[in-house]
Structure formats: structure tokens, C-alpha cells
């Protein structure tokens, strides 16, 4: 390839990127990012108000974001629902209150799935996507509040804090998933500076947030335009149209793409929350360094993993009894949570039960791998093997081997996760067979 060819190729790619970003300016991501900055600026403008006033302003901005990204009707329903749930949790005592709370939570699970198109008053494509993502996050936050208050005796939070935490616009679309308690715990002074010295510090924080926002947006755009472009072709042809090395690289590409895009969304959420005075939790911690699947889930989508541990795994019994069963049920719940999200976007016609298998298999794969990892680490009968490995294999080599195996497994597990709903699950097995020269 000559320099001229390369220059021509780079020019073509840049032109495509320009066109792609031009096309993407009406996407959900672009709207979330643009309106997010606008709402953050308006939230910061409330600096002179006392904390309570600032928080009410933020609640109003959260409702506005629902109206802009969803529809005014949706925003109204969301506020009505949240106020009702808070009232039931705080004011209806005993079993009646608990029952009513769970009834409301079940209604929130069912309603978006059955939501008629008429609720949306515009072009519905991005609104459904937004509504699906947002309700997935919102529901978990509502469950956490009900459980925290009713089962764990955590102190009540005023309505504005509950509304702010459950509808917090920077994290409403794609997380991080923080409970009311967690968000309140992450509150900082934000724009409420009291001296010029603090103002300078606020300015430095703004500069860091802007850099993180830009970095997050660049990650999402570049990954969306350049990575995992062949997914559907590979699924549709069971990998027949690509070479074996390309097919082996593909799960790694899936992993990388998902990480880059998802962490980009998180970067933006964190960058938007900081100027408002909230240090939202990180969602990723270099997941490629995980030595096993259990560690991976402490490094990937951390807030969701924490939520699952706190509100599914521990109530099921945690490590105290039937630990393996609890792990499998927790990952099954995770798979079904993703199914629920897809169902809200595509409806039952576009996402029939047989298509749910992709997420369910992904969940079970992770659960089984986590159980296998525990078995390997804890079964006394394997101690001689473990001891021999410790004695004869250098620690660095063992570490890198464990990281590589965990990475490869997680990458392979993304294959059923990304299975398009219109392609049969058999495609995953056929891809796997082709990877092993058997298909």
C-alpha cells in the first residue's frame, strides 16, 4: 500500500466518520448527551439556592429530561408513579404497605412492556429505546428503596431525594445504577461554593468533567462507527463469510465494543453528575484484569453487580446456604432483566420467547463459570493440583493465564448476549463449531 493509497483510505474513513456523526445527531445518544449538558448547566445555575431548593430544581430537570427524551405523558406518569410509591412505602404501614409496594413494582415491570404506542407523541423509535433503558434502571432503584425501607430498616428519605435518586437524569438512561441511599451518600457540595478558592476548585472539576465527557462521547462514536460492524453478518451466516482468524477475533471485538460504548455512556453520566454536586459511582474497573468470572463481575457494570448481590443474591441466602443455586438464580435474574429491556423495545412480536434464549444462556454461562471457579478454588480434593501449580508455575504466568482464560470465556459469553432476535440460537453453536473447524 502506497502513501497515496493510505491517505486516500484515511480520507474516505474521515468522510464516513463525518457522515456517520452527521447521521447520528438525532440518535438517543446524541439527544442524551446534548440535552444532558443543557440540563446540567441549568442545574448548576441553581447554585445560589439552598440545598433543598437546588434539589427541587434538579427534580424538575429530571422530569424535563423525561419529557424531552420520552414524552410529556411519560414524564407525568413517571412522577405520579414515583410519588405514589414513596407515599405507599412511607405512609402505609405493615403488610398492606409492603403488599401495595410490590404491587406497584410489578405494575412498573408490566406496564412498559405492554405500553401502547399511543403514549409516545412523536416518532417512536428513540422514545421506545429510551423508555426501555430508563425503566430498567428506574425499576431497580425503586425495588432497592422498598427493600431498604421495609426489610432493612434504613431511614426514610424525603420525597425530593427519592425522586432525584430514582429519576436522576445523568444516570437515568444507562446507569450507573445507584440506590437512593447511595446517591445521597455521593452528594458533594457541587455548585454551592462559598469562596473564590472553592470556585477555582469547582472550575478545575468542570475542566476534568468536560474532558471526561469528551472522552466518553468519542468512545461511543468511534466504537459505534468502527467496531463490531460485521456482527449481524456473522450471526446470519454462522461465521461462514469470514476467515477463522477473523472469527476468533470477533468475540474479542464484541467485548471491546461493548466495553468502549458502555463505559463511554458511564463517562458521560459521571461527567454530567459532578457539576451538580454528585460523585456518581464508577461502573467499570479494568475488567480485562479479572482473574475469574467472579472478579469480572466486580469489575464490569459494578453498580448492577452490587445491586444483584444486595437485592437478589443475599436475600436468596447468599453464601450461607445453596450458594450455587443462588448464583445461578442471580444470573438468571440478570438474563431476564435484559430480556425485559429488549421486550420493551421490540414488543412480543419482534422478540418472541424463543429469542429470549440468548440472554438466558449468557446469564447461565456466567453463573456456571462462577460456580466452577469457586469449585476450583475451594474443593479440598484439588489442593494437590493447586499446590503443584503454585510450586511449578511462576506467579506472573499463573496470573496472566487466569486473566486470559477469564477474558476468553467472558468474550465467548457475549456471543449469545448479542444474538439478534431474528436469528435462531443455533447460530451460536454453529459459530462455535466453525471456530473449532467443525462447521
Amino acid at each position: 500500500m502506497t502513501i497515496l493509497d493510505l491517505a486516500s483510505r484515511v480520507g474516505a474513513e474521515l468522510a464516513d466518520f463525518q457522515l456517520g456523526s452527521w447521521e447520528a445527531r438525532h440518535s438517543l445518544f446524541a439527544h442524551y448527551a446534548l440535552y444532558g449538558v443543557l440540563l446540567t448547566a441549568l442545574g448548576a445555575a441553581a447554585a445560589p439556592l439552598a440545598r433543598r431548593g437546588r434539589e427541587w430544581v434538579l427534580v424538575a430537570l429530571c422530569v424535563a429530561s423525561l419529557a424531552i427524551l420520552g414524552s410529556p405523558g411519560i414524564a407525568g406518569l413517571a412522577v405520579l408513579y414515583s410519588v405514589s410509591l414513596h407515599a405507599v412505602v412511607e405512609r402505609v404501614p405493615g403488610r398492606a404497605g409492603l403488599g401495595l409496594s410490590w404491587l406497584l413494582l410489578l405494575a412498573l415491570a408490566a406496564y412498559p412492556t405492554l405500553l401502547p404506542d399511543d403514549v409516545f407523541t412523536g416518532n417512536t423509535s428513540h422514545m421506545r429505546e429510551f423508555w426501555s433503558f430508563a425503566t430498567n434502571v428506574w425499576w431497580l432503584r425503586c425495588i432497592a428503596y422498598v427493600v431498604d425501607r421495609r426489610a432493612r430498616g434504613i431511614a426514610p428519605r424525603p420525597l425530593r431525594e427519592f425522586l432525584l435518586a430514582t429519576l436522576f437524569f445523568p444516570t437515568f438512561v444507562n446507569g450507573p445504577i445507584e440506590t437512593t441511599e447511595q446517591l445521597a451518600g455521593h452528594r458533594r457540595k457541587g455548585p454551592a461554593v462559598d469562596s473564590w478558592h472553592e470556585l477555582r476548585a469547582y472550575g478545575r472539576m468542570l475542566a476534568r468533567s468536560s474532558a471526561r465527557f469528551t472522552w466518553g462521547a468519542a468512545k461511543v462514536l468511534v466504537a459505534t462507527f468502527y467496531l463490531a460492524q460485521s456482527n449481524e453478518t456473522i450471526f446470519a451466516t454462522a461465521g461462514q463469510v469470514v476467515s477463522h482468524p477473523r472469527l476468533w477475533l470477533w468475540p474479542i471485538e464484541l467485548y471491546t465494543t461493548f466495553y468502549v460504548v458502555f463505559s463511554g455512556w458511564t463517562d458521560i453520566a459521571i461527567a454530567l453528575a459532578r457539576p451538580l454536586g454528585y460523585e456518581v459511582a464508577e461502573n467499570f474497573d479494568r475488567p480485562w484484569r479479572a482473574r475469574n468470572v467472579a472478579e469480572f463481575w466486580r469489575r464490569w457494570h459494578i453498580t448492577f453487580g452490587t445491586w444483584l448481590r444486595s437485592y437478589v443474591y443475599m436475600p436468596l441466602g447468599g453464601n450461607r446456604r445453596h450458594a450455587s443455586r443462588n448464583v445461578l438464580l442471580t444470573f438468571l435474574a440478570s438474563g431476564l432483566w435484559h430480556v425485559w429491556g429488549a421486550l420493551k423495545v421490540l414488543g412480543l412480536d419482534g422478540y418472541p420467547p424463543e429469542a429470549w434464549l440468548g440472554f438466558i444462556i449468557w446469564g447461565l454461562m456466567n453463573g456456571l463459570a462462577l460456580i466452577a471457579g469457586r469449585w476450583w478454588a475451594n474443593v479440598p480434593g484439588l489442593e494437590p493440583v493447586r499446590a503443584a501449580l503454585r510450586a511449578h508455575v511462576p506467579q506472573m504466568l499463573r496470573l496472566r493465564a487466569a486473566q486470559s482464560m477469564a477474558f476468553a470465556f467472558v468474550a465467548l459469553a457475549w456471543v449469545p448476549f448479542f444474538l439478534p432476535p431474528w436469528i435462531d440460537i443455533d447460530a451460536c453453536w454453529r459459530i462455535l463449531l466453525r471456530m473449532m473447524f467443525l462447521g
Partner: protein, 359 residues
């Protein structure tokens, strides 16, 4: 500027310096104003579908086009409570066509498809990603094959004769490799006997001036696009065909126009296909329209395709934009697959084009 604040707010008791907070407020509001204007420029003002005097402009060369440079959000402005109100952003380029401007010169290796026809598939009212041209381009795998640029030159009111005029005078400048003509079997047949005329129209939205000229946000509030045509036009609908004799004459004329268009395309090195593209609301009466044209050019009739979906999922489809002759998302989705596959089956795509698998 010292004001006390209750000890409960941030745990700080006593007087505070308020100026830094007001500095933040001032900067934040300034940033918000700038952002509002940026967003308003991207979205464009909402303009009611009933406003006619801004969308189309007279063009000495091709009759009429969309108003160049127009950016707005299509709003049906239907009464409150009307279900499924479609709004969607629209951007018209300097050439009077949808979306980004296409340079006349092709990039190396690029394959171009030129889509001609009237408003059934022009994409006003649906999101850009759902437009027929965009869907057709997205169905190709540009990683393994050539990049396909699908140029959406469908313009409201164009019948086959107007599309032929556009192709001869402007369309060929884009150096298309494939030309696709969308033919509505009712409106377009009638338009061949009663050619649509562009009637000058009073511009019902005055040119932006003063603050409106400066601020997109102000234009958004005033529901006024930045660009208004120098001479707005309205296209008179042709009289519907009533007699069998007229229909036969129109079909014969359509055949002539399609023959001429096919020849013009082939002379310019492009392949050519016809798509029978029924307008909304869809009726079953249009099937079989390809029969007259099959020997002239590859032809695909979308009426049975739409009818099948409507039969399988009655009332649950988005084939049409309510109250509009234009297609909705499901129609463009089905049409894109059917057209792509027809072009492939007839070997009209250049060999470098590879089918992708995207929804």
C-alpha cells in the same frame, strides 16, 4: 453579599460569600443559552404539516425541489389526543434534496444509487435511519464490499415524467450506478395524463429577520425555519383516473416514460429498476402493475408485500404515517429489503456491492 443560610443545608453555619455562586449561575445560564441555540439549530423549529409555503421551492431546471437549506421538525399539529402523532427532524441540503449534500464527484470505489419518485418514500415524517434511501445503503456491507451512497431524490408531487426530467437534467450529474424509480400506481398514472403543475404560493412564513435571523432558539419558539423559499410552490394534485380508457392511456404513457428512463440510465452507464410503490392509505387495488413494465426493466411490486404484513399483523403495523400519503417505518423496512434483493437478483448492483445483514 453576605447572607445567612440555615445550618441544615450543607452543614455550614454562618454568613457566606454569595458572589461565587452567582458567578456560576451567570456562566451556567450563558452556556445554557448557547446550548439551546445549538440544539435548536440541530432540531429546527416545529412546523405544522399544514403549512405549505415553506417546503417546496420553484426550480428553473427541474420544476421544483425541497427548499434548499431547510431544517425543521415535521409536526402534524393534529388535535390533542390523536394517537401516534409522528414528528421527525428534516434537513434539506443545498441541492434541495434530503439530508447531507452529495458531491457530484464520486469517491473512489463508491457505488451510487439514485432514488426517484414522489413523496410516498421521501422520508418526511420518519426518522432519518428509517428512510428508504438510508435503509438501502445500510443493507450493504461496506466492510467487505463497496460503500453504497443512496441519494434520496424523491420529491413531493413528482410523477414519472418529472422524475425523468430530474434524471436528465440533474440526476445524472451524481453519476449513479443504479437508478430506481418509485411509481405510485394511482397518483403517478394520473399525473401522466394531467401533469402536476407547480403553482406559486404566497410564502406563509416570512423570512427571518432581527432576533429571528440570529437565534435558532427564537425561530424555534416562533415555529419559523431559517430558510424560506424565494418562490414557494404548491403542487396541484392530478385528477384521479376514472375511466378504463384513461387508465389504459396512462399505462401506455408510463411504459414510454419508463423505457426512456431506462435508456437514459443505461446510456449513462447506470442500471435501472422500477418499484411499484403504493401511497398511503394502502388499498389492494394496485397489485399487478408490474405486468406492463417487466419487459422494459426489472420491476418489483410492493403492494402485495405490504398487504401480507397488514394481513399478518392487522392494526399493529407502522406501514403508513397517519393522515399522510407517506410510508411509515415498517413500509420502508420491507421496501428496502425487497428492492435490495430485486436489484441483486437482476444483477443490477455492481459486483463490488456485498449484501450485509442489518435490521
Amino acid at each position: 453579599m453576605h447572607r445567612p443560610e440555615p445550618a441544615t443545608s450543607d452543614g455550614i453555619v454562618g454568613p457566606r460569600l454569595r458572589s461565587p455562586r452567582w458567578t456560576i449561575t451567570a456562566c451556567a445560564l450563558l452556556l445554557a443559552l448557547v446550548l439551546v441555540d445549538v440544539i435548536a439549530r440541530i432540531e429546527g423549529p416545529r412546523v405544522c404539516a399544514s403549512s405549505e409555503g415553506f417546503l417546496l421551492t420553484a426550480d428553473g431546471e427541474v420544476g421544483w425541489t425541497f427548499t434548499p437549506g431547510l431544517t425543521f421538525t415535521f409536526d402534524p399539529c393534529a388535535p390533542a389526543g390523536t394517537p401516534r402523532q409522528w414528528t421527525a427532524p428534516v434537513s434539506i441540503n443545498a441541492q434541495g434534496l434530503h439530508d447531507q449534500a452529495w458531491p457530484y464527484e464520486k469517491r473512489p470505489g463508491e457505488v451510487r444509487l439514485l432514488l426517484l419518485g414522489d413523496e410516498v418514500a421521501d422520508g418526511i415524517g420518519i426518522a432519518r435511519a428509517d428512510r428508504l434511501s438510508v435503509r438501502l445503503a445500510h443493507l450493504t456491507d461496506r466492510r467487505r464490499g463497496a460503500r453504497v451512497a443512496a441519494i434520496n431524490a424523491t420529491i413531493p408531487g413528482y410523477g414519472p415524467a418529472e422524475s425523468l426530467r430530474f434524471l436528465e437534467r440533474r440526476g445524472l450529474r451524481y453519476a449513479p450506478d443504479v437508478v430506481v424509480l418509485l411509481v405510485d400506481p394511482e397518483h403517478d398514472l394520473a399525473a401522466l395524463l394531467d401533469p402536476p403543475a407547480a403553482q406559486e404560493l404566497a410564502v406563509d412564513i416570512p423570512p427571518a429577520s432581527g432576533l429571528l435571523g440570529l437565534s435558532a432558539a427564537a425561530r424555534w419558539l416562533a415555529r419559523q425555519p431559517a430558510e424560506v423559499p424565494a418562490s414557494a410552490v404548491r403542487i396541484e394534485e392530478p385528477d384521479p383516473l376514472t375511466s378504463a380508457e384513461d387508465r389504459a392511456r396512462a399505462r401506455s404513457r408510463l411504459r414510454e416514460v419508463v423505457q426512456q428512463m431506462a435508456q437514459t440510465s443505461r446510456d449513462a452507464g447506470a442500471s435501472f429498476a422500477v418499484v411499484i410503490a403504493p401511497r398511503c392509505p394502502l388499498t389492494a387495488a394496485t397489485a399487478g402493475s408490474c405486468a406492463d413494465l417487466d419487459d422494459v426493466a426489472p420491476c418489483v411490486d410492493l403492494a402485495p408485500v405490504f398487504a401480507e404484513l397488514e394481513r399478518d399483523a392487522p392494526g399493529r403495523t407502522e406501514l403508513c404515517i397517519p393522515g399522510q400519503p407517506r410510508w411509515g417505518r415498517d413500509a420502508t423496512f420491507l421496501a428496502s429489503h425487497k428492492i435490495w434483493d430485486t436489484l441483486a437478483a437482476s444483477k443490477l448492483w455492481p459486483e463490488t456491492v456485498v449484501r450485509g445483514h442489518r435490521l
